[in-house]
Symmetry: C2
Subunit: 168 residues, 2 copies
């Protein structure tokens, strides 16, 4: 989590799902939309702020993949690695919004190039860390992620979203 008094680098919302489906390429005049989907696991919505640099990525990945938020069939909470469960990452710049009057402003968000780079590092390290875990890798579990900058057309089916907020 973020240290007190330190600028926030990223904000994350985590939900649990039984199934989720995310559009990664919108339909065009000559092609249908492309989607990714996951089964039981964790949906991670992530937003990076201006002050963020790559040094924070390992701490975010380590936290999200090891925090005990995933429920086993007998009601115990374990990490998504231990479950083992699928992971869907959704870039979600709106999480950086601050209300000004009745509108939302996003002045603290990382710029597009910086955020795309951090997002790419984040998804890559998640994949590496998950694949390095034999139990997870052998289970056939999957990591999927959305395309930065797209509209995140999302369908979610949960047995309780069990929504958590984290800041780094």
């Amino acid at each position: 989590m973020a240290e007190p008094g330190k600028e926030i680098a990223a904000r994350v919302v985590v939900q649990q799902c039984l199934h989720a489906k995310l559009q990664v390429k919108p339909p065009s005049h000559d092609s249908e939309a492309e989607w990714v989907e996951i089964k039981k696991g964790m949906v991670i919505y992530i937003c990076f702020f201006k002050g963020a640099d790559s040094a924070v990525i390992p701490r975010i990945v380590n936290t999200l993949l090891n925090v005990k938020l995933s429920e086993t069939n007998d009601g115990k909470h374990v990490s998504v690695k231990e479950l083992p469960g699928d992971v869907l990452i959704v870039p979600q710049a709106t999480l950086g919004g601050k209300m000004k009057g009745l509108c939302m402003q996003y002045h603290s968000n990382a710029g597009k190039d910086q955020a795309m780079q951090l997002y790419s590092q984040f998804t890559t390290l998640c994949q590496q860390e998950l694949e390095a875990n034999l139990k997870w890798a052998d289970s056939g579990s999957r990591l999927q992620f959305g395309t930065y900058g797209n509209r995140q057309v999302l369908q979610l089916d949960t047995n309780g979203p069990y929504t958590h907020l984290m800041k780094f």
Copy 2:
């Protein structure tokens, strides 16, 4: 939003949906599960903290029903009242979680009786405010809400969840 330095009374996550369905009564040996559902509109996840009292409720309701987070068919952002759109309220105590080691703790959350009372005041005032708006009331839009203390079995279909965080 919460004033700087002041204790947080409530944390809210808002998502936009095309359709959402929430279980309000789990199945039992002699009855099927009961569900509520909404069409295009806003899903509000809410959690109350220990310091919260009823005085904060009108400010939360006023903000959520008037903030311009709902997208019209021509891509303009308006309030859910103006849309006019449906509203689904999901009690979500997990939003008050703080990480301790690899587990989540909820020591700052309002106690069950206090939270139930605040939740009930919140849903009641939302209903009153929405019904007092002729455009919303005449449109056939609906407010639905989950049962406090239940597992919030939720299905969500979005055209982009457009996730926002607010604290009060």
